[in-house]
């Protein structure tokens, strides 16, 4: 079968998207990027992100970057008519995504029993702050708070300095990505068994699950991991080093790679020096070792060392600003910035590309971000005429 005949993986899946701001819209965008029909239900005031971030031609590029591949339908869910329209849309849908606080959707007239009654095949996905059971379930959520409560901040920061948040809204995005994974998994099960189910991810749980070996080391030793800045907590050499014209990041992944590093920088005998012949000794003399490496690396430029060391199989790179990232030929080859024409006065908007590459049905910006209510008539008219496309 020719690849050109194939439809995107989630083609035919209809997602009713009640989410706003960040975690939920990121999740539904991921589904839209994979080909799902995403119907973004907005209140008459619209997603608050429409008014956030810098605007160009009257349009928020922040909103554009999180809402491609979606249709916008305005419903007033405080009115009977709005709720009736939502119920009818859910009959035609495969997935509902919401990021209200737990319980809010039920109080709006859509508790789990009613959703099951409306459509037993529906996958009902929730992204929230802390999960829907436990003492904090009613608390308002925000990325900064989730970073603090989850332990993320406790290990982020320079050695000897206070805990630090990451500037990226990591807890929103990780939760959105987990939810998208959970939704597609639940769809896979539904395709086999015929019944939908609820899928939930919280911002705290999502980012906590990324503590990886920091968590397993904590469980086995009982100790809290420490903040170590750009140094590795256990391994030397590892970190940022000075070349003739700037810093490079080097992280030899094992002793064999370390040997290749030292050979390439002209210190082939260092590992047989009794001061440095084990990781424990190197770690204890980390500052001294750092000075020796800096002195050796002064003999060539940053770009040359990056080429030479990578060729020798040593993971090496440099710290890049976003300007440098998007000028980087690798990032360009990977099309990680894309230009999406919006077909009107909003013009062409640059946004992040697709991190998942599919060989036969690549992700694409099939639709630009919608104007508020752009698809209300089209979607509701189809409902009235019974032209439902989803619900399979």
């Amino acid at each position: 079968m020719s690849g050109t005949e194939l439809k995107p993986p989630l083609d035919g899946i209809r997602v009713i998207d009640l989410t706003r701001v960040l975690s939920g819209p990121f999740c539904s965008m991921l589904l839209g990027d994979m080909g799902a029909e995403v119907i973004k239900i907005e209140s008459p005031g619209g997603d608050p992100v429409r008014g956030q971030g810098h605007h160009k031609n009257g349009f928020s590029w922040y909103f554009a970057g999180f809402n491609r591949n979606k249709k916008s339908v305005v419903l007033d869910l405080y009115s009977d008519e709005g709720r009736t329209d939502l119920a009818r849309l859910l009959e035609t849908a495969d997935v509902l995504v919401e990021n209200f606080r737990p319980g809010v959707l039920g109080r709006m007239g859509f508790p789990p029993e009613r959703l099951e009654e409306i459509n037993p095949r529906l996958v009902v996905a929730s992204v929230n702050g802390f999960g829907s059971t436990g003492p904090y379930t009613d608390r308002p959520a925000f990325d900064f708070i989730a970073q603090a409560m989850s332990g993320f901040m406790s290990v982020n920061g320079p050695e000897g300095e206070p805990p630090l948040r990451a500037a990226q809204p990591v807890t929103d995005l990780v939760a959105g990505l987990y939810t998208a994974f959970g939704i597609v998994s639940a769809l896979h099960g539904r395709n086999r068994d015929g019944v939908g189910q609820a899928v939930e991810t919280s911002m705290v749980n999502g980012v906590l699950s990324m503590m990886a070996y920091l968590a397993s080391e904590h469980f086995v030793t009982g100790e809290n991991p420490q903040r170590t800045g750009n140094d590795h907590p256990l391994v030397a050499p590892y970190g940022l080093y000075n070349t003739a014209d700037g810093q490079i990041a080097i992280s030899p992944s094992n002793d064999q790679v370390l040997g290749r590093l030292l050979a390439e920088i002209g210190l082939p005998d260092l590992l047989s020096d009794p001061r440095f012949d084990s990781n424990d000794k190197r770690f204890a003399r980390r500052d001294e070792l750092h000075g020796i490496l800096d002195a050796a690396l002064a003999s060539d430029t940053r770009e040359n060392w990056i080429l030479r060391l990578n060729r020798a199989g040593v993971p090496t790179g440099k710290i890049q600003t976003l300007k440098e990232v998007f000028a980087d030929p690798q990032i360009q080859a990977q099309e990680m910035a894309i230009d999406v024409p919006h077909g009107d006065e909003r013009g062409t908007v640059r946004m992040l590309g697709f991190p998942v590459k599919l060989s036969r049905t690549p992700c694409a910006a099939r639709l630009p971000a919608p104007r508020l209510g752009e698809h209300t008539e089209e979607v509701l008219a189809a409902l009235r005429e019974g032209q439902v496309t989803g619900g399979r």
Copy 2:
């Protein structure tokens, strides 16, 4: 239909897992947690992580925490016999996951054409450092380097201080999670169209896609986002404040929430004070404002403020160490640490729980992490007898 009769979403999916260390094993664990049969192919020396991290009863808890819900089959892929066994396993499989450098799998005898010949329904997933096209495709990958190259470090760190890596291996884990999402999406498409395809995520692309509004602001303004530590780059108040007995994190999400914060801490008139009646003014006088909030918050304890402010709808929390995280009743209610008996001298291993909650078919540790080669005979014997279970 009763939920108890249902099988996990990915039940019946067979994953052949050639990955080692972190990004790939995290991806395949996520698939296993959703019910897939994951067959971890290890070289006779085993996944290097078996020897990493603190051991208890001779067993690495780091390995355990990334390899639950997997079977271990030892194959020597440098031998003809090993490669033949792999080819026969792939005939029975739905998914292949690998995290070699691009091209390595082909040089091992399994280029894309051969994989398609062996099993046209196979979803072939790759996790790598930089992607399989572009000038850096052959470079060795490591989390620290991907954090540096992707722009992540450029925005992580205190204001006025150098760029900083995060201690969590975020680039490995985000790439693994994206790959799992891509795999299940591709399976969904395959169930409809009958053909598999290649799925790829790189560590740099994955974490770059998490730059979110930092990227959209960069695209629209052309400026690089700055490091701002625990302060918000645009909004005040926001950050860490002192109470009678410790710090709290507060992040009012909009002016309405800010009003509730100020009312609760006894400063209801602050927003009508001409020094503070707009965000711009508050931001310009951020230090002065910080002092006023600290003084007001000195009247009660940290725990009380967290309860009071959350009740008032203001996102508020505290920075927790991992010890505090796992003692937190919310984290306990969410079962984010689980104890998995390993059925032998390795005893019971504590590990992270499941961030995606499914209502009908909850994720579970159906299998503990395998001993090296524990399932070699079972899996290869079934192959010989033609008892293949996958490949649907």
